[in-house]
Symmetry: D2
Subunit: 312 residues, 4 copies
């Protein structure tokens, strides 16, 4: 891979270029509106931050503005759960793409309460349940993990968003109850939902997120903090899961067009990892029909095409 990229890439110039070129795409998507706290985010925002293995961060546009990370936290909670459990974890949640929208109950029913992967909502609920079983303070634990990996101790939950999610979260409640009926949720449903709605409310910016994912581009060791956040093998596995399952029902198309492991959230963020090169976060709130950021997807495709850096 290193052979195929140009020797020296001027990342700053590239990000600025991309930021200019995606502007005409404003208006093609829709800001998530299922809760008021997300619906009132301004649509015309675009930020991008890229951190290379030497720890240097390039940024453009609204890269330091906080947004709701939503499903991107599923990568953090999966990392935590994989540290606790190894083989048994994969009896409670699968590792296959879902072939169905991210919140589908159909597959969950046909597969007897075992979610297809940890990045669909049902899978993330099981992961939250795993963390609840192993920690007296799951929400504190998740927050600390994020603060440490992004080297930003001021990151916190947005409790208004969390409350708003809880009030509208009937479909997640349906899934948690359904999995409980199959014995795949141990803690009380309310406990698990509370962790889940809270974790999704984390407020972070592109710079934070590009840093928090950097160890995944570096075989598990963070170049910023020096910590081994995950073993090389677990790192490869998390990347594999992001590639096959990270963008809801558009994972295939994203692998096809962008070719990097990535995770998106309905807040409009997408984080991607180029192993041995960089991690990158892009944010723009307008979503396409698959729930992924319109400008964000295009920006990452441009990045791959112009750097020639792809895992394939």
């Amino acid at each position: 891979m290193s052979a195929s990229g140009p020797d020296v890439i001027d990342y700053q110039k590239l990000l600025d270029e991309i930021a200019r070129e995606v502007e005409p795409l404003y208006g093609q998507g829709k800001v998530a509106s299922y809760i008021p706290a997300l619906a009132r985010v301004p649509a015309r925002k675009f930020g991008m931050a890229l951190t290379t293995l030497d720890g240097k961060t390039y940024r453009t546009g609204d890269a330091t503005e906080n947004f709701s990370v939503q499903s991107i936290t599923k990568v953090f909670t999966l990392s935590i759960a994989m540290a606790y459990m190894t083989g048994e974890l994969w009896r409670r949640v699968g590792r296959e793409p879902s072939g169905n929208p991210f919140n589908s109950l159909v597959q969950l029913e046909y597969e007897h309460g075992v979610p297809r992967n940890p990045f669909i909502n049902a899978g993330a609920l099981v992961i939250a349940d795993v963390i609840a079983a192993h920690s007296p303070d799951p929400k504190g634990l998740i927050r600390d993990f994020v603060r440490r990996t992004s080297a930003n101790p001021s990151i916190d939950y947005d409790l208004e968003v969390a409350r708003s999610e809880a009030e509208a979260g009937f479909r997640n409640a349906a899934m948690a109850n359904f999995m409980k009926s199959h014995g795949n949720i141990e803690s009380p449903v309310e406990t698990v939902l509370d962790i889940y709605f809270t974790q999704c409310s984390l407020a972070m910016n592109c710079v934070d997120l590009s840093r928090a994912f950097l160890h995944l581009a570096n075989q598990g060791r963070s170049p910023i903090t020096g910590d081994e956040v995950a073993t090389p093998r677990k790192t490869r596995r998390i990347n594999a899961l992001m590639l096959t399952c990270g963008l809801y029902d558009a994972a295939g198309r994203f692998a096809f067009h962008v070719g990097l492991p990535a995770k998106s959230g309905v807040g409009g963020g997408i984080v991607a990892v180029a192993p041995r090169h960089y991690s990158v976060c892009v944010w723009s709130p307008e979503l396409d029909t698959t729930g992924n950021s319109v400008l964000g997807s295009h920006a990452l495709e441009m990045l791959t095409n112009r750097t020639g850096v792809s895992i394939f």
Copy 2:
């Protein structure tokens, strides 16, 4: 990636080691038995061949024994169809993992006759139909493509296998008719089925297949023949599709454990690509419940773990 592998790998020693170590796995799977021609293949076979970018091929076990490539041909026909069509192709076949067994009609019905990806049977039937529309001799064209990319002019179809498939192919006939009812098959159903059953009957060995896939490890240019078989961008896209959809309903698990784009067939073959490193083919007829070779899957996992070469 290059940084992470050891500087010099003794591939010959590694393949011989793997061949010894997978032997205790004999008996854990079952040889495909849906047609007599496949059912009578001896179960205890194991071959492996790996070709590096310099064109050198390492081999072990039954690497020069011919077997029925079956679904592995779907990569060849996709390559041919992508040369003919660009954008329109993806209106007739998707690029998403299926989340269902490889021969499911359910998803096809819910998605109005558009198969999820070109590697499930329904998708390969659409690809065969595309080739039929662009060539007066589709079967000759496919055979020539394979002969040229593997630099072996003696490769041919096994017409007994093809006939056997046709006689048992009611489910594929069901899918072709169903897609025809949705207007997604242009040629007569019989024509498309004939191409499909014939392409699956190609008889090749591990050495042939590792060579025929080598351009996919080299941005589309074959180090053996010097031909540009595909553009760099199409090469990345074919690899992306193999990674997300190449192993039926076990694509996610395979990406997780092996971490290389790959395509398997019910004849017991699996071909994998390590971009910028090598292509590899392994063959062993006993299949697991997902239709993938038991010894083959393990051999590839060992290969990845010991070389440290993974796309993630």
Copy 3:
């Protein structure tokens, strides 16, 4: 039941009244257009014929004009198959409503090639296969059964319709092939499809059909011919199947509003049975979204409401 109807009903007056009152409904549905032979039937047709247990037939409107009976033949073929087989028949086809449109492959896949009931297309294909296994001339047998029960020896197939169906019948071919892959079709697929497409092409009028169903209102014995067409027990069972499964995905609504066992066809016919009272056939080609005649459904609801004759 007899207690609840008025002692003497003037059926002629009632039919004429109904014919007048349904006229404003013209234009609310659409004539079946999937084959040219059906598409060119004039939309504004309405006929109705009712035959009482004494063999007297009342008629109104276009009651003597022939139309394509289509799925209504499924009752005839079921009657024939039930005469051949008893217990085993119900291992090859279910007796439950489908909860899905009449031509769905989804349920067929989940239930391993066993159709839910004999009135969905897949079930009728199995029934045709049963008849093929028991008779050297299945099409002659079906025609003779219909001629005899309706006491009209001139009834025949419309071979242009049959050919037209065959040319457009990819979905039925998909189902037959799929069931064959599950071992639930014995004869060649082409044989079964030929019987099916031919049986659907029977050309009959309302008078014929009301007579052909009269034995189902009389415990199996035809008041017209004196024949015992079915035993009392089989008669009750055929009526039960019509009530629960006879109107595709609208069986529940029809039972609710009309309350009589009935069978409809996409040619616009509906035949209904009031046990111990009468059989009735109504025809009008415009169909609602569930594939049932708009004017026909309303006419039968009026008939039930005004006579007070319902099985409930």
Copy 4:
């Protein structure tokens, strides 16, 4: 129908005969065990009570022993809801058989939160929600309705059963939350679940139940109390719904073999209605794989065959 039954049936003798003849079937089914309160019911119980239009009740076996009516209450709550609402009710719940097990979420997802009919659990939850919106004391209202129609003022809920259901009711909670996410539940989920679990816990015996359903055999007017419980048209409609949807996924088979509108419960009760003849309740706790009483189903089939009274 009256014509087809023998002029005088000795119901007492018939019930006693049936009670003797079903005895060998003990052991073929399983007592419901999903909650302790049901699991400890003795398996070898059989009771039957039949009430004719003149108000006379015949009984045999354990006909005066209370059992948990469970889903049979869905007929009572539907009757109440149909009195409140007419057209709008059927926008919130369908009238079609489900073609899926009684607690399936799959169909609910494909149909956007609208249950197929009022007798699957999801449909009964919507009905409970309708009652909650129209009454300040829904549980009192339901109990009073049952006491009045069965003329037994001592009937009451078994609150231990209700609590037990609530503790194990994750799947019903899943469905209620799911429908709430689609806007098809108005009251809080907890309120609706409380009504539902409580209504299912009603403790009644065969005599009570045969009397409580008698008006459905008499066009809506109870011969016992003289009340018009429902209009003749609503009565026919409730009977039609019982016939097409009353026995979970075995409604078709039951219509085929028994031929009477009926409703079953997992407590082992089945109530059936022979319009213009009688209502009958049978109870035996061992259930078949579709959740219906083994001895109960057979007893009702014997009753139909020997009396010749069937709606078909």
